[in-house]
Amino acid sequence: MEKIIEAVNVSYIYQTKYQKTKALSEVSCSFERGKVYAITGKSGSGKSTFLSLLAGLDVPTEGTLAVEGEDMRKMNRDAYRLNRASVIYQAFHLFPLLTVMENVMFPMELQHVPAKEAKARAQEYLAKVGLPETLYKKMPGMISGGEQQRVAIARAIAAGGEILLADEPTGNLDSQNEKVIVDLLCKLAHEDNYAVIVVTHNEAVAAAADVVYGMSDGVLSVVRGA
């Protein structure tokens, strides 16, 4: 399997006017296509910070984070998020004033995919995540948490990237919906060759992952499978 992301001695410090907090300390690891990675750890251990760095929302204070050998500091991180990496959040973060369909179409519109094609692809991925067609024209506020999370996943994969980053994707879901989402993430890695990286507290999610990392006080360690 080929490495898609590699972190070498990555540290991250949150700096305010009055204090500095080291959120990540010399994290080194790599991620490959076709695998599901779980990063577990207590709240405040630095998991979400690491995921945000992997998403290119910021750059490490120290160390190197490279995507297929290209240093993230030097690359166009907006284009990286637009075309290669998608993020799924625990709080879903759907556009509240767009319909389900429009939410899924949005990243494709940003990529200048023609409206017809974007709509067809959105329908395809909404069907893939098991969302009934009756919900397509509803606003996110009108559907359940599990359905919203599925819309968020559909949005992430419809954009056609190769890296899927998920921050507690099952945190707001019941066990039945949780299983659907976990199966979906595994399928994306194993069948569609995504590198799926999931930050989670959930043992079931961790159990389904191919590789499990543990994070404690900003230090990453291998728990299983690497």
């Binding site: 929302l57 637009l82 959040y89 973060h93 767009l98």
Partner: protein, 410 residues
């Protein structure tokens, strides 16, 4: 671009309550700016129009200011006034006595029994209106500005003597010579000549101190007559209108330095020398000062008003973006660059405020009826200042951490 515009339009519609609120605030701001710009425009116009409303006139007098007629105004001073670029409608007169026909000095008692004036405009006869003169066909008051041998006769005198317009009349003219000091007046022979009667006059309400004239001759003809007899010419009264009251200082400097007029000194000895100039400019200066102060105040308010509109733009956008921070963060996390995110939000504001600007200007045009320039000024001032404030608020969003905004709830 198509997506960009569609997205902006969609956002405006989706956030319609906020858009309507923004439009209302914008309309009110535009109306306030229209009132302000309208005030400034009206004050500027009043100031520019002031010389037409409040004419500034000037009158030549003796040094102590007691006498405005019957003076000796030197010819060089008179010509200095008439040729000045700062002077409009200068009027000079010279007093005369005359009799009909030709006669000698010894025969003056029987013949020299009429009063006359030389002048360059009908206004030289105090109280006489232009319509009180009946002109011969093809002639008007402009003939008094020439040196032609013509005259205007009193209607009653014409009837008494049996003259009609267009007739020629022989007149013997005597002139007044005033002693420089004291009140002695000498009447001495000047010229006997034949004049074409080009006008007749019937003075309704004569307001001069002297006996009203029964004949008027062109001033420059009289001047020539004095010269031809080797006599120094003096006008006996003179006044004018200031051409551009905003150039009063230049006029005063010229009248003082070049034409050698003095200011009135009330304690000066009584003399007949017409060497002082009084400019009636108090009302004009007072009004101009008041208007200038108002204008300066209004202009001084401009930076503050612009700052207030920028602040309103900033505040409106800031408050509206507070509830859209997550939307912004999401846009960024989906790969929308800072520039693109900025223009998405800025374009939305620009469209909404353009609508506010149009609506506000329309309402102002209906209710305030300002000039088009005023509408353009206040509209563009609003648009630029408001959008500057909005841009600052949007740019401030860039400082927020997308990472923190999206993981806050997690």
């Amino acid at each position: 671009m198509k997506f960009f515009m569609r997205q902006i339009a969609r956002n405006i519609v989706r956030h319609r309550k906020k858009s309507i609120l923004h439009i209302l605030i914008g309309v009110m701001t535009v109306l306030i700016l229209d009132v302000y710009a309208g005030n400034m425009d009206s004050t500027e116009k009043q100031l520019a129009d002031l010389p037409n409303v409040l004419e500034v006139t000037a009158r030549i007098s003796t040094l102590n200011g007691s006498q405005r007629e019957g003076m000796t105004i030197r010819e060089d001073r008179m010509m200095g006034v008439r040729e000045s670029v700062y002077v409009k409608d200068p009027v000079f007169t010279v007093r005369l006595k005359f009799g009909f026909g030709a006669f000698t000095v010894e025969e003056y008692k029987e013949n020299l029994n009429h009063y006359g004036m030389g002048m360059n405009a009908p206004e030289g006869v105090s109280g006489m209106k232009r319509e009180e003169i009946t002109w011969m066909d093809g002639v008007d008051a402009g003939i008094l500005e020439t040196a032609e041998k013509v005259c205007i006769l009193d209607t009653a005198l014409m009837e008494e003597k049996g003259y009609r317009l267009g007739d020629d009349v022989m007149l013997t003219v005597f002139y007044y010579r005033y002693a420089i000091e004291g009140s002695e007046v000498f009447i001495e022979p000047l010229i006997t000549d034949t004049y074409r009667i080009v006008g007749s006059m019937q003075i309704g309400e004569y307001m001069g101190n002297w006996v009203p004239p029964e004949v008027i001759l062109p001033l420059d003809y009289m001047r020539g007559a004095y010269h031809s007899q080797g006599i120094d010419f003096y006008a006996d009264s003179g006044f004018f209108t200031v051409k551009d009251p905003f150039q009063l200082n230049a006029l005063k400097a010229q009248m003082h330095d070049e034409v050698k007029f003095l200011s009135v000194i009330t304690r000066a000895k009584p003399r007949t020398d017409g060497n002082a100039l009084t400019i009636m400019d108090e009302a004009f200066i007072r009004s101009a000062e008041t208007l200038s102060k108002n204008l300066a105040l209004l202009r001084g308010m401009l930076p503050f008003l612009v700052a207030i509109v920028i602040f309103i733009g900033y505040l409106c956008s800031y408050l509206s973006l507070q509830s859209r921070r997550e939307e912004y963060a999401l846009l960024r996390s989906l790969g929308t660059g800072r520039r693109r995110s900025f223009f998405l939000l800025f374009g939305e504001t620009a469209l909404v405020e353009a609508a506010a600007c149009l609506l506000g200007s329309l309402l102002a045009a209906v209710f305030l009826r300002p000039a088009v320039g005023v509408l353009a000024l206040s509209g563009s001032m609003f648009f630029l200042a408001f959008l500057s404030g909005a841009a600052m608020a949007i740019l401030a969003l860039h400082r927020l951490s997308v990472m923190e905004m999206l993981t806050k709830k997690d």
